[in-house]
Symmetry: C2
Subunit: 359 residues, 2 copies
């Protein structure tokens, strides 16, 4: 098939107007569904539009109206089921309200996040939903606000930024999860998270710039200390940024003589790799080691034994934040809201007393 020489000149309102024998303005009124037009003229224009197979150019429309009908979403890692599910919630809410979603991945890198935000603003999205990867540098997020577009935060709060936010109580839920392990008798509990820092070495909370992670670690440490555990921060592992890294980390973690008797994993991707390493090393759950993970991923309910999980309302998280944003897009003026959705723990079979207890 040869390239059709005429570059498929698309049909415009003017074309329709000419065929329908009316002015451009009138045709636009019919086609755009605004203003007042008589029934007969409307019918004529519609007929002409159908005959010509007219398709509105949403770009031109957005340009004059100033709104695009698009919500920009910047998310940490699309591959993570946590985010897929949240995005699903966002998409559903958006669609229900007649909005579309354009998705960008930050890979949890601040420069990528920054670039994504700039791009989406350039595309003139009506509003943005972001899971900020860092709380240090949020100038690009302030820019959004300055550009007149509403912003809403998902999963991670920024105290300094007064915008709609939907999160869970990470500190509280981490405390509850840790307490389950402590109550089972564990005193060597490892916390494994994706956040990276120089040398994967945890020093203090100040070096953790992701709010949810910081809160979780805070809660984890609090419960450990309350239980009289000595220097629990020794068992915090940073840098589980990819399956490969996680595997290495888990291997090191589970090989030493000082091996933890329980592990709390910060997301299901991390837990999955840890689980595989445990099995590969012949460690029995929960006899030899206990495991709890954040996120009720598919696989956690079909292993033997099934895994105890922190079941965040991920879909609802996405849905709520989108709804909040959309209400603002529709012009609703109200003080910013900080929603904290309730979270439960699903106790399954991956927690038991530490091996030493049985001696």
């Amino acid at each position: 098939m040869k390239r059709t020489a005429p570059k498929t000149q698309s049909i415009t309102v003017s074309d329709v107007a000419r065929v329908a024998n009316v002015s451009k303005a009138t045709a636009a009124r019919v086609l755009g569904g605004y203003g007042v037009v008589s029934d007969t003229i409307r019918a004529n224009v519609m007929a002409a539009a159908k005959a010509l197979d007219y398709r509105p150019n949403e770009l031109a429309r957005s340009m004059t109206t100033g709104r695009s009908g698009i919500i920009g979403v910047v998310v940490g890692d699309i591959e993570n089921p946590f985010f897929s599910l949240a995005v699903r919630g966002i998409s559903d809410a958006a669609r229900a309200a007649g909005f579309n979603v354009i998705l960008a991945n930050s890979g949890e890198r601040i420069e990528a996040e920054r670039a994504a935000v700039r791009l989406l603003i350039g595309k003139r999205v009506d509003g943005l939903i972001v899971t900020p990867s860092e709380s240090r540098d949020i100038s690009h997020l302030r820019d959004i606000h300055r550009s007149g577009r509403p912003l809403a935060l998902l999963d991670r709060a920024l105290p300094d930024l007064d915008v709609d936010t939907v999160t869970v109580d990470d500190r509280d839920i981490a405390m509850r999860a840790t307490r389950i392990l402590v109550d089972a008798g564990h005193s060597k509990i490892a916390y494994v998270t994706a956040v990276d820092a120089e040398g994967n070495e945890y020093r203090d909370l100040g070096q953790i710039y992701t709010s949810s992670v910081r809160e979780r670690i805070d809660g984890f440490l609090k419960v450990c200390r309350d239980a009289g555990i000595d220097r629990p921060e020794r068992h915090i592992c940073l840098g589980a940024t990819s399956p490969d890294e996680t595997r290495k980390l888990a291997d090191k973690l589970l090989s030493g003589p000082d091996r933890p008797t329980a592990i709390l994993a910060s997301d299901s991707l991390i837990a999955l790799e840890i689980f595989k390493v445990m099995r590969q090393r012949g460690l029995r759950i929960p006899q030899d080691i206990s495991l709890i993970t954040f996120h009720d991923a598919d696989w956690t309910s079909v292993t033997t034994p099934p895994i105890t999980v922190v079941d965040q309302p991920v879909y609802a998280l996405g849905k709520s934040v989108a709804e909040l944003l959309i209400r603002r897009l529709k012009g609703e003026a109200r003080p910013t809201e900080r929603l904290i959705l309730p979270t439960t723990i699903i106790e399954r079979g991956s927690v038991g007393p530490p091996a030493a207890y049985k001696l």
Copy 2:
């Protein structure tokens, strides 16, 4: 509805031009990075832009250039890990080439797919990637071509449509999977798929409008018949469209006296529900029943026993189709390509001889 007063009047090239004391055209040349400008003027304009915090309006830019830098993707079901992974492949390829992705979900419903395509064309995406949910009515896909935008198909081929396509050999791989079961001695093999039809009753291939599914069923039946299995189509189950439906279906399937001794599941979501029902009913894998599923999902490698899977190169599927599309977007003129990526089967522990064999 009242028009909100222009709040944040955004900075335009004209504003920059005025401050830099040059013409709009010159400022545009600098800011748009085209044409020829002297170094001193360029510096002036850049300084003015920086001072005013100028951000280009991509919408206006797209409008005149005719290209938006966006690839539209219409996918069957975002929640399905198969598609998430494919979308990830698409996104990565797109980003590498400087394109963005706007994602729409068809829910495998033809009207939704049609609406999504119309919307994306309206947004003037540069090209589209679609997983067509039906081969019956593809007029909307022809429309894409007519609108002058390239289209590429993912995972499902349409013989009637001469466009770039990336798939796997579904018939062949279904045959290989079925043969594994047949070779193990099975003669009552069920095939469970999401495709819906009136009454969930399979009659003949003509009623299956999703090409990949049709090919798989075709291959499945061929191997069954070659093995002398009587009326294998009796064991084809349609309508596993949601976890709930799948559970019901699986319950019925596994309760009858004519219970199959092996199941081939069309995707990992279906297999997961079947697995749960099996376990709940106390059926041991592979002693009591064998299971193979399409898609090497997370969970399939951590169950006891792990599940034998058809490992489609999902990420590569997405990446390749995006690359094909992008090459065309960059103006490369060549005959349409129909890529068929090689697929393997990962044999794990979920296939054994049928229970009857052991008596």
